[in-house]
Subunit: 315 residues, 2 copies
């Protein structure tokens, strides 16, 4: 039996999974993230963790097919990871360094959002689809495009960054990225709160939201589900922007299905329905019938996608 | 030596090319498009044309690697061509019918805009790029995405239809597709004329365009090149919309280069420069450095892309 490791490098912990060659998770654990000017310290910790695991499970090095690893920043086509600011690294050839320090080849890396999308495609909501668009609604809006089991990484590392699509050319406020009118300004948790504040200010409509000192995205969706009229207007507006961005994505990559993940997707089928309806209003008739689904893997999407980086290469 | 045929089905003529296995065009000719309720008549004409060619060139059937063919409408992933309204067909399995009638296999088909993009990627402006976005500025706005030598066709046949990306959620006029705010409403030849008319109406600015009874896209670009201030404001507006759509496409597929084709691209480097600058204002720093180029193949992009449908399969 052959195995691979899937490694998800986060700001606080490094999640590690041992997977069988058919993609079953055999073991899953975490080590603290060692920060530094370069990845060498963190990679030494990973090396120790993997060697302990292999000795415990009596797995020989030649039975490890490779290591998949998420990279906490954009990765350009030359394999360089840029701006891993959360961890403190500069530009770094993460896969090469990892191969040298850990002593296992190949190490395949990919931007964390893209790898999480691959995880959903390989093992989660998109398991039976040939192609998939993932949209992650969290503090920001992330995403990924998976075609025939392979994640689209892009030349400059931004393939799948649907959150920074320009959706409104007349927006006056500036997005975290420096541009104006990005999807993220409307469909991230923060963007939804901003939309709620705007609607609350510009209308007089009664709403349970007016009783709250500070509205959160969860409050907004809870109120909408409970039938609050203004909350439904606000979520309709947000979903219109999101549906438009998803339609734009379909006009480029036309995947079989769309998977919605991230913290805000906890609003569940109610949110999914609104997004799907908004999408359908924006596309040609024969493109309306896309499957929409909620992400399934939660926090394990990263290590599972990392494993898929290796396993999809050995098909 | 092996060969393939590339066939481009247009509303008036069917263009046919004979290509060597390394992609050289050996012969190129046209036959009139026979219209009908189904493709059988047209395919019989094609069969005769190909057989004449093979007998003239003394090429045996076993030396034909296959036939690539453009389809004049959207092709869904199940191989069905829909809405070939120009020619009169209903939904049809074009590749299967062609294989049966012509007696050569395989026949590979793809939507005409997508196949033309593949032509530019394989033999034209994108020859040295690994991945490419093509944008065709003509009566409408078309496009295609080529990744690693393969054209993205999409599940519902709309991959690459950048012209129907929603760019302006506040647009009040309706696009030919029935939606509002599509890129095509600003960046097609018709869209540019519409923009010119709007600017001429809402401003008093002096302009050579005011002396014309009816402004065309060519007039607009000629005036802009000659330094006309209003014409430059209008083309800047159009390019801002186009740059925004290309940036949105980069945030999804992040190709190595962008190729601009179609009748309006006759405005040349002047147009290309404006589009590239508008694009650069809409993306992250490390995605700014994309190659922009004008399409090279003109009317032969279809037959050449059709040949690439076969030759890229036999790599």
């Amino acid at each position: 039996m052959d195995y691979c490791f899937g490694i998800d490098i986060g700001g606080t912990t490094v999640k590690i999974g041992l997977f069988s060659e058919v993609g079953e998770m055999v073991m899953r654990w975490e080590v603290p993230t060692r920060k530094g000017n370069d990845p060498s310290g963190l990679l030494k910790d990973v090396k120790d963790a993997l060697e302990n695991c292999m000795s415990e499970k009596k797995i020989a090095k030649e039975n490890i097919l490779g290591i998949g690893m998420t990279a906490p920043g954009p990765v350009t086509a030359d394999g360089v990871l840029h701006n891993a600011v959360n961890i403190g690294w500069g530009a770094v050839c993460l896969a090469e360094e990892a191969e040298q320090i850990i002593g296992i080849s190949p190490v395949c890396i990919g931007n964390d959002a893209r790898v999480a999308a691959l995880g959903e495609a390989a093992f989660g909501a998109g398991k039976d689809a040939k192609s998939m668009l993932m949209v992650t609604l969290g503090t920001g809006v992330g995403g990924g495009v998976v075609l025939n089991g392979h994640i689209l990484m892009g030349e400059s590392g931004v393939a799948g960054e649907i959150g920074h699509m320009t959706i409104d050319p007349y927006e006056t406020e500036t997005c975290g990225c420096g541009k104006k009118g990005c999807l993220e300004q409307y469909a991230s948790a923060t963007g939804m709160v901003r939309a709620a504040e705007r609607f609350l200010k510009k209308t007089e409509t009664e709403s349970v939201l007016r009783q709250l000192e500070k509205v959160t995205a969860k409050d907004l969706w809870d109120a909408a589900k409970a039938g609050d009229r203004l909350a439904n207007e606000i979520t309709d507006f947000v979903c219109d922007r999101l549906g438009s961005a998803i339609a734009n994505a379909v006009y480029l990559v036309d995947p079989e299905m769309i998977v919605i993940g991230g913290g805000v997707s906890a609003a569940g089928e109610f949110l999914l329905d609104k997004v799907a309806k908004a999408y359908q209003a924006k596309v040609f008739a024969h493109s309306r019938n896309k499957k929409f689904a909620l992400a399934k893997l939660g926090n394990d999407a990263g290590i599972m996608g990392a494993a898929a980086l290796i396993l999809s290469k050995t098909e």
